[in-house]
């Protein structure tokens, strides 16, 4: 199909009249101006069974083509190196083999995974599952201590309110002995 159109284009190029001079065609200057050079296939040639090249008026596909072209470019730009890298790793390095843990040997946390890229990610970016477990336990411990202290605080408040002997839930009042009752001694004054 592509070959056919190339063939047709070659035939058209050979057969077309080359418009070399601007004044060919009766001395008139073309509408586009004096200094314009036309491409050689501007004048379509009628050669019998040759198809006519017509200018079909259709909606623009410029923006669509541009979008798809850019999409392909930006996907393949990291995509091709990644594909090459993954193919290299799979062909030349290959996956790990399952083995029994040797006596007295504690494997590193990345040695529990099969694929080399997974092992690399686990080795360089992630903490070991044991560490994650311990981090979770630390969080739970902190929250447990906080919950315990909060309950104790509520209990302390309740008791202090009830018994009234603690530093909370009372205001300091002046001493009873400082009250001056002298003006109450003679009621009719």
């Amino acid at each position: 199909m592509a070959g056919m159109s190339l063939l047709l284009r070659a035939a058209a190029a050979l057969g077309s009249r080359r418009v070399l001079s601007r004044t060919a065609g009766g001395g008139r200057v073309s509408l586009l101006g004096r200094n314009v050079v036309f491409p050689s296939t501007i004048a379509p040639v009628r050669h019998g069974s040759h198809e006519r090249r017509l200018f079909y008026i259709k909606a623009t596909d410029f923006y669509d083509k541009r979008f798809l072209s850019l999409l392909r470019y930006y996907i393949l730009l990291p995509g091709i190196p990644l594909a090459v890298l993954i193919a290299y790793v799979n062909i030349f390095i290959g996956e790990a083999e399952l083995a029994e843990i040797p006596e007295g040997y504690v494997p590193e946390h990345w040695e529990y995974y099969k694929h080399p890229i997974t092992r690399w990610i686990a080795r360089n970016f992630f903490d070991s599952p044991e560490k994650e477990y311990e981090k979770m336990l630390a969080i739970i411990d902190a929250e447990a201590i906080k919950a315990d202290l909060r309950l104790k605080e509520l209990e302390a408040r309740r008791l202090m309110r009830e018994r009234g002997d603690g530093p909370w839930y009372h205001y300091e009042t002046p001493d009873k002995n400082l009250i001056d009752y002298s003006h109450k001694a003679e009621p009719d004054h």
Binding site: I93, A96, L98, I101, E111, Y112, L137, I140, D141, A144
Partner: protein, 175 residues
């Protein structure tokens, strides 16, 4: 073991055929033989050559991976109230045990399926042992893990067991 089942297990072995009549070999001009040869030389041989080359490249530096060995920690029944660390570890252990139980049921099911495929039309009488084992195992699994919901935990499983025991005791007391 998701990697591979134990294909040498006696549950998977074919029983000996009763009429071992030898099959005569196909003549090389038979269409099936021609097709076989074509496939062999266009697909099988190049792929095998490439695969052998790839295995040689990979064999230059081998490395291994291992399965995790988890220690046993105290159960949920052995945790004190308010000891949230013990409870977390018990829950994690219960989840791992549940996964192991899932795989056990899968293996028993695969054995029953293999037996059925192998026996063909007479599977109902020849596979009785495998079917019974599968029924037993799946009933035990359902007793323990079914109906716990999406957020099932060791605590809910324990409560389910408690209710089951209460129901059993009531049923016994009625008699």
């Amino acid at each position: 073991m998701p990697e591979g089942l134990d294909r040498d297990h006696e549950a998977y072995k074919e029983p000996p055929k009763r009429t071992p009549a030898p099959e005569e070999p196909l003549s090389p001009f038979h269409p099936l033989a021609i097709l076989g040869n074509v496939l062999h030389y266009t697909v099988d041989a190049p792929v095998t050559v490439f695969r052998d080359w790839m295995e040689r490249q990979r064999g230059k530096h081998k490395f291994y991976y291992y399965h995790r060995n988890y220690r046993r920690v105290p159960d949920l029944t052995e945790c004190l109230e308010g000891d949230y660390l013990c409870m977390y570890e018990a829950e994690a252990q219960w989840k791992r045990d549940m996964k192991v139980d899932y795989e056990i049921v899968k293996i028993i099911k695969e054995r029953a399926e293999a037996c059925q495929v192998r026996e063909g039309p007479s599977h109902r009488q020849n596979c009785a042992k495998e079917m019974e084992q599968f029924a037993e195992v799946s009933k035990a699994f359902a007793d323990r893990y079914a109906d716990l919901g999406a957020f099932g935990s060791a605590r809910k499983c324990l409560m389910k067991q408690k209710h089951r025991m209460i129901a059993e005791r009531k049923a016994e007391a009625k008699q």
